[in-house]
Symmetry: C2
Subunit: 329 residues, 2 copies
């Protein structure tokens, strides 16, 4: 009999997430796990300051998705959003390449004001989540500013300049996370990594380079993940050589690696105990699996809520299986 | 023949204004005078910082009114405004006593961002006006922060706390303009006061205590107005013992003076060369007029645009009459 079981109410699952893709799996997990059983750590390296506001796109996507108020068609922002402030900002000649909905503005205004008062991003996120009725913990990776910058054929760009303003068109030759050496992982995050309650760490199907890597690159995080007895499981964001959302596949090609799930698994390297592959990539399973890395094939494209819950359920079962079959966990 | 005539294109009129009432007369003046003939200096002592934004209610009222985009029914803000950000701010638990429309938010966001970049309020106002198609000069009284504070039976209140949050209910015993001693009048304002082009200074029918007095109390302004050869004309905001808009009459009673046009004229004292009285107060004319102060009675309630233009026209004629009949100007 395994020592640990994810069914125990004291057991805890930690999900590491970027924006849309990660938030979908986080939502699935939130439908299966009680609030005290799940924490989602979100990337904040794509945060930026714009029009005097502090904007945290990935945090907001996770928060809005868990609150059930996200715009599913658009993939970002709020459902039923209006754009009257943005229209007026354009009239006033303000920068308009980053669309801010009227309701979404309220989030950025609240966050910016609380940051100016000295509250930490963790505290602010906890507060905003509670106001929006999100009961699972959403944790920014760090309360310190970390900013992804990309070296491209169009010059050095901040992440949102590349992602939104330039629509991911520039070719990337390198990237870095400004401020990462000075940043500390958020208290709740690092505490959870050291907790006996932690039963699995799930790396959501987010961009490995610019969504997950900033979280892993925070001082002490990789070590704490390695030291944890919880298995680390990544879900491939690359399916059949294509990124389900965003520029991951394009970036891989530009960075000189094949745009395959295999390359994703290799990128995470020995951090992983388990890797979830889409069933369409089942022929890659044999190449990827090693004595230290088990591979699970399943349907991983999450178009509907049912598919999000189904994938979350498969990932949790896979985690349980890893725990059951190894004395390492 | 008088030396000066307001008809000359090089002649200039300066209007001192608070919010709604002042903006109505400023609009009337703007319909009669070319952009190079009229400047409106607006009170900024009711400016405040709220939700992390720098808000200038009187400046915005003047600007929106001259742009023809103000909400006339409401008396403040923009016509056809929506309130989606405000609704979302309430959901997020933000302070909600000061209503901010979605389009109005764009103004505050733009202003706040430009202030943070180091632009002066004068520069910002000029820019916002140009974007909104306002061609007459709208000038903040000062680029330095001045903040009206009111001593009331409900404690010491910032102006907007008194005016909006408490709906003018507290009784006022005293008030002051924080920062006034350190503040300088805006460059364009003080230059205009010393200009030969200046043919008349019009004190709009705004609250004498909290809208006009901050402008007059700026270091050097009273002296420059006295030194100018342009006649100074005030339009009474009190008609038949009632303030047309706002708490002026209530404040007068609380401050121990009769709520009459006579008391307004006495309050401005020897600064005035002319005083415009509503025709319903014509019996006060004799008491108010002196050898130094001429009084003009006319219909001064401005409900329609035609009435705004008519009063502006009467005030300009009265100014011309003062210039024509005195060798002081």
């Amino acid at each position: 009999m395994p020592q640990s079981s994810i069914n125990k109410s004291a057991d805890h699952i930690l999900a590491l997430s970027g924006g849309v893709g990660g938030a979908k799996l986080a939502l699935g997990l939130s439908k299966l796990l009680a609030p005290q059983q799940l924490s989602i750590v979100a990337n904040t390296a794509d945060d930026f300051e714009h029009l005097g506001l502090s904007i945290s796109p990935d945090l907001d996507t996770v928060m809005y998705t868990l609150a059930g108020i996200n715009n599913q068609q658009q993939g970002w922002g709020l459902a039923g959003e209006s754009w009257n402030a943005m229209t007026a900002l354009k009239t006033l000649g303000a920068e308009s390449w980053f669309n801010l909905g009227d309701r979404d503005l309220a989030t950025h205004l609240s966050r910016s004001q609380m940051l100016a008062k000295g509250d930490s991003l963790s505290t602010i996120t906890r507060y905003l989540c509670s106001q929006l009725g999100v009961s699972h913990a959403v944790i920014p990776m760090s309360d310190d500013p970390v900013r992804t910058r990309l070296q491209t054929d169009q010059g050095n760009l901040a992440f949102q300049e590349y992602f939104v303003r330039e629509q991911c068109r520039p070719a990337i030759s390198d990237y870095c996370f400004e401020g990462i050496e000075q940043a500390q992982p958020a208290n709740d995050f690092i505490e959870l990594l050291g907790s006996e309650r932690l039963k699995a760490i799930i790396i959501c199907p987010s961009n490995p380079f610019v969504s997950v890597q900033p979280i892993l690159a925070l001082p002490g995080v990789r070590q704490a993940m390695k030291a944890s007895r919880a298995p680390v499981i990544a879900i491939s964001p690359i399916v059949a050589g294509i990124a389900i959302k965003g520029p991951a596949a394009k970036m891989m090609a530009e960075l000189g690696m094949p745009a395959t799930a295999t390359a994703v698994a290799q990128y995470y390297g020995d951090l992983l105990d388990g890797f979830v592959l889409d069933e369409s990539d089942h022929d890659l399973a044999e190449t990827i699996s090693t004595a230290q890395l088990q591979v699970h094939c399943t349907a991983s494209i999450m178009t509907t809520l049912e598919e999000r819950i189904a994938l979350a359920s498969k990932v949790l079962s896979f985690a349980q299986q890893l725990i059951d079959n190894s004395d390492r966990f």
